[in-house]
């Protein structure tokens, strides 16, 4: 079944007309955004507000000899100039990263990547602040940089992290998973072994809104109010408390409307801390907004994995084992935002959707003179890399076996009766039924017909490719027994309060960046307690107004906070049932819940609505023994497992043999994210991720020259797809609910970003089969495709 979700022609009142429950519903956040009445961080204007600009290093690796700020301080409109030395005096020169490393707020000893923060200016307006940067005189002693990741551990490589005591090389960490010996044994007895070097280049989430903050420190109250572009306001508040030594209850972090995040707005950046310091120093509100270059050269990048993939199989196409060796470039500081025990994120799911006998991964991560980051761009904690590896190597195996790639996948899927399925790297897939998803994608695509068309075209010398990818994601981090970030457990709070008139407010710990939380969470609550979504206010993004939780990334909002919302509503409903029993003078057991009211079983005429119950809960008259007044509840939900969405993607490309330009003609995405709350929003999430996939596969890459200059420092150089590079997306869905999630939902925010790049690359490689091409690395720009056609494909780094 294909989702053809035709826009309805009904009026604007959809939100009100939709009484309860799941299904397409127009978004509650849209009216303000459509009128230009959204409130993004740069829209915040406070009386007396000053503006902050940051001076950044032009060099990738250099010793800071001196910083002379005297001319800048004397410039018109300048209120303060702050350097690393100033911060050192305050104990704020360094801050912890989300991976228990440290990162310089402003450089004191050295700069370690181009674009690193060196000093900042606070001035009356943004023009004056920017002008004053020109007047700061920094003397650098330029050092040899480490740019080639393959040379980072060479004995003579320059030492980047001499700030770490006892550090003598650029080694960041080693990590392994699976069983090396078992895997070796499986490989030894396999009929066929295929090996392929696969690079996932450095890319950048580049949300349309850059990062920024407005800090307002009230010295009298001792309270800091910080508007900032953060996907994780609570985690940030705790970190600020640790970094700045301010008491946590005196910090209010507000994430207002956010113009896209994609993981770029998870880490704490030096700029946020600078804005706080700027406000403390000047006693005024201070605004800092990155420009686009700053965003691209200094904030959380993604990927940068150099992988060697190996796959072992029988001659008839039974996959036996998968093995990989990874060299990971973490940049100058390990700023990876991943659970502490998962330094490689969830890369461990590289065994994909297949029932295999053994798997092993060995990873080495290193420091280089590049910007820190690594986990971003809708990657589901590195599952992008894992899925790319497995789906590319499976295609290499199909080519080796001369087997249809769809058939090879179908032959190796984990079967429905095997769930919950424990992978060879220890992940417990909660539920899945892969074949129907795959078949549906093939049906929508007209797979057999496409293969026939391809054959005809090949005979005419035309280049057409069909690429498949099938992914399983692990999202919804995560169970607190083994997942935390900097010691903060990854459970999510949620509070629900029903007002006397039956209207409600739900307070979330997560924060939308466009995913539509204000709508879907209202729908979840509505489904559970029968109050129309229009009567439910969703409050989020303000730490003073919401319960603690770790924020929105890794597709975790629905799996974790969505579960919290459903369960808190059930708590409220349970209490409502007690009150209803008193109102109807029957026992609790005699009542049944019928969307929005409790009825006496067998007597539908005797019923009370949730609104009536709410009034009673707050009104006069006795309540049942032991029941307090009011109708509200709170919860802190600790997921028992991750959820495992899956999907089947098919991409059709045409390549101009003369110019090597790739055109994505069709893209079919069939997703299974379990229970579907709002199909319109799900479709939107998928569409966006598919576009990311086209970007990464065909054009996006952050590269560096040998001196460490970033070559993707503007949107002229870092290319993002426009409407002309992407097709009209074709989507479908299957529903395999999660058994442990209260409403069976699995999360979908990153599925398409994870699943689409291998489909596109597989399609391009398939198109180039007549040229004997088995692999070509992203980004598949015309020039790189042309190289591949001539048998000289090279890795991008």
């Amino acid at each position: 079944m294909t989702t053809v979700e035709e826009p309805r022609t009904s009026t604007f009142d959809d939100n009100d007309q939709k009484p309860v429950g799941f299904g397409r519903m127009l978004r509650k956040e849209d009216p303000r955004l459509l009128r230009g009445r959204g409130r993004f961080t740069d829209d915040v204007q406070l009386p007396g507000m000053l503006h902050l600009a940051i001076l950044r290093s032009p060099f990738a690796h250099a010793r800071v000899v001196s910083v002379d700020t005297s001319a800048a301080e004397a410039a018109p409109g300048v209120k303060a100039v702050v350097t690393g030395e100033t911060l050192k005096g305050l104990g704020l020169a360094w801050m912890p990263t989300l991976s228990n490393d440290v990162q310089a707020v402003l450089a004191t000893d050295k700069v370690r990547f181009q674009g690193q923060e060196v000093a900042f200016v606070v001035a009356d307006d943004r023009y004056a602040a920017r002008d004053a940067l020109e007047l700061i005189d920094v003397e650098y002693d330029v050092l040899d940089p480490v740019i080639d990741v393959r040379q980072a551990l060479a004995p003579d490589a320059p030492l980047i992290r001499d700030d770490l005591e006892g550090k003598t090389d650029n080694h960041c960490f080693d990590w392994e998973t699976g069983d090396a010996d078992e895997t070796e044994a499986v490989f030894a007895r396999a009929d066929v072994v295929v090996q392929q070097d696969i690079v996932y280049p450095r890319v950048h989430p580049a949300p349309m809104e850059t990062c920024g903050a407005v800090a307002d420190f009230d010295a009298v109250e001792g309270k800091l109010k910080l508007w900032s572009t953060t996907q994780a306001p609570h985690a940030h508040r705790t970190l600020y408390a640790i970094v700045a030594g301010l008491p946590e209850h005196k910090i209010q972090v507000i994430a207002p409307d956010i113009g896209g995040g994609f993981g770029n707005k998870v880490p704490i950046y030096p700029g946020y801390v600078c804005a706080i310091v700027g406000s403390i120093v000047t006693g005024k509100p201070v605004k800092w907004m990155e420009d686009r270059s700053e965003n691209l050269i200094s904030t959380g990048f993604a990927r940068d994995y150099i992988m060697r993939g190996e796959i072992a199989a029988t001659r008839d196409g039974k996959i036996l084992g998968i093995r990989t060796n990874v060299l990971a470039d973490h940049g100058a500081f390990n700023g990876t935002a991943a659970p502490v025990k998962y330094p490689a994120g969830f890369f461990g799911v590289f065994t994909g959707s297949y029932d295999i006998e053994a798997a092993y991964c060995k990873m080495t991560a290193v420091y280089t003179n590049k910007a820190p980051g690594g986990v971003a761009y809708a990657c589901s904690f590195r599952i992008t890399e894992a899925v790319y590896l497995v789906e590319r190597i499976v295609d290499c195996l199909a080519a080796e076996l001369d087997m249809d790639p769809a058939e090879l996948r179908l032959k190796n899927f984990i079967q429905p009766d095997q769930f919950p399925y424990t992978t060879k790297t220890g992940w417990v897939y909660d539920s899945g039924d892969y074949e129907p998803t795959m078949r549906q994608a093939m049906d929508i695509a007209g797979y057999a017909e496409l293969r026939r068309e391809q054959e005809e075209k090949r005979a005419r010398g035309e280049l057409m490719g069909i690429g498949i990818s099938f992914f399983t994601e692990a999202v919804g981090a995560g169970p607190r027994k083994n997942m935390d970030i900097l010691g903060l457990g990854m459970a999510d709070g949620c509070e629900l309060r029903v007002h006397p008139t039956g209207k409600a407010v739900v307070r979330l710990s997560v924060k939308t960046q466009g995913q539509g939380h204000e709508t879907t969470f209202a729908q979840i609550i509505a489904e559970e307690i029968g109050i129309p979504p229009a009567d439910i206010e969703v409050v989020h993004g303000d730490t003073d107004q919401t319960p603690f939780g770790l924020g929105t990334y890794g597709s975790r909002s629905t799996p974790v906070s969505g579960a919290a919302a459903a369960l808190v509503a059930r708590k409220v409903r349970d209490k409502a049932q007690l009150i209803a029993s008193a109102m109807l003078e029957v026992t609790v057991a005699d009542l049944e819940w019928v969307k929005g009211s409790f009825q006496v079983k067998g007597d539908p005429g005797k019923a009370v609505t949730i609104q009536q119950i709410a009034m009673r809960a707050h009104g006069a008259g006795d309540l049942p023994e032991g029941v307090e007044g009011g109708l509200e509840a709170q919860i802190c939900y600790n997921p028992s497992n991750l959820t495992y969405p899956h999907g089947a993607y098919i991409c059709v490309v045409d390549i101009d043999p003369g110019t090597a330009q790739v055109k994505v003609r069709r893209f079919i995405a069939v997703d299974d994210c379990g229970t579907r709350i709002n199909p319109m929003i799900i479709e939107g999430q998928v569409h966006g991720g598919l576009t990311d996939g086209v970007g990464m596969a065909l054009m996006e890459m952050i590269s560096f020259d040998e001196d460490g200059n970033c070559l993707g420092a503007s949107l002229m150089d870092y290319l993002i797809p426009t409407a002309l590079e992407v097709p009209d997306w074709e989507t479908g869905y299957t529903v395999t609910p999660s058994p442990h999630h209260p409403i069976g939902a699995k999360g979908v925010g990153e599925s398409a970003t994870v699943g689409s790049p291998p489909a596109i690359v597989n399609a391009v490689v398939d198109a180039l089969k007549p040229y004997g091409v088995r692999h070509a690395d992203m980004p598949l720009t015309p020039s790189r495709v042309w190289d591949a056609m001539r048998g000289r494909a090279t890795p991008p780094i």
Binding site: D291, T659, M699, P782
Partner: protein, 295 residues
């Protein structure tokens, strides 16, 4: 967001007043039209000027596409302030020189085309710029006005002195570009870009003029992004003149294009690939230009 360094804003009221300002202010002043190249460079502080002279008000004076005379000896005169969108939308221009519409469809994006101008494109003198290649292909000449209304006319070859450098001196202004009208003409443009709106990896323009017997009376090819400046290739013209249009002839022209250009390897592609494109696109545009000349 990046912001430019301080400068004085001056608004032009007429061409001669603008030239007067340029004369008075010297090299500290710069004309700004669409601004899509200049202002980003100033925001990134790669370029700084004390004065910007806004010539957008001169659109009334210099925004035009005029046909002067017909057939041999006639010409099309386009004012320097004519905007990309106007060049794209002019049916008359597309009929005379279809290469314009081909090129304008792929120059920057529709919003930029609302503002960007022919004169601004040429004066930026970016070696990857498409309209320069179009003008080279069509054997255009540029009218440069100086103090006291003195005008001089230079060929495209002389107009581009080097990358980002033109024959327009201090106190001078490009006011018009002239395109000779010749009978039996057809033209075409093709661009390979990594993404819509990107600068060319390589672009090629071709124009052919067929004689009454169907042979090629004259032909010109202009390439962008394959060397220090937009390149016209006389050797191709020489090879094509007097010949019957045919695939092997286009191949020959393509081969000349490939060996005549001097591309550099960069983010957009390898030098080898660009050389290949010079060949491929030369063949394609010649093919289309001939087909159009015949129809």
């Amino acid at each position: 967001m990046q912001v430019p360094a301080p400068f004085e804003y001056e608004r032009a009221t007429s061409v001669d007043q603008a030239i007067g300002l340029l004369e008075r202010l010297g090299s500290s002043a710069r004309l700004v039209a669409g601004g899509h190249s200049l202002l980003p460079m100033m925001k990134l502080r790669l370029a700084n000027f004390d004065y910007l002279i806004d010539i957008n008000p001169l659109h009334t004076e210099l925004g035009y596409i005029r046909f002067a005379g017909e057939g041999a000896g006639g010409e099309v005169r386009i004012g320097a302030m004519t905007r990309h969108r106007e060049l794209l939308e002019s049916d008359e221009l597309a009929a005379a020189f279809p290469i314009f519409r081909d090129a304008e469809r792929v120059i920057a994006d529709p919003i930029v085309r609302n503002r960007g101008t022919l004169g601004g494109s040429l004066c930026q003198a970016d070696p990857s710029e498409d309209l320069s290649a179009v003008c080279t292909t069509l054997d255009a000449s540029c009218v440069i006005r100086g103090p006291g209304g003195a005008e001089r006319v230079v060929t495209m070859e002389d107009f581009h002195v080097g990358p980002y450098e033109t024959a327009v001196g201090d106190g001078e202004m490009l006011t018009e570009v002239r395109f000779p009208l010749r009978p039996g003409g057809g033209s075409a443009y093709e661009k390979v870009e990594r993404r819509a709106g990107d600068w060319a990896v390589v672009s090629a323009g071709a124009a052919v003029w067929l004689a009454g017997d169907g042979t090629i009376a004259d032909a010109r090819v202009g390439l962008a992004a394959v060397g220090p400046n937009t390149t016209g290739i006389p050797e191709i013209s020489a090879a094509l003149r007097g010949r019957e249009p045919a695939e092997d002839l286009y191949e020959q022209a393509g081969a000349i294009a490939a060996r005549s250009c001097d591309p550099a390897t960069d983010q957009r592609g390898s030098a080898d690939y660009k050389r290949h494109l010079a060949d491929e696109l030369t063949r394609r545009t010649l093919r289309t230009a001939v087909a159009r000349a015949r129809s």
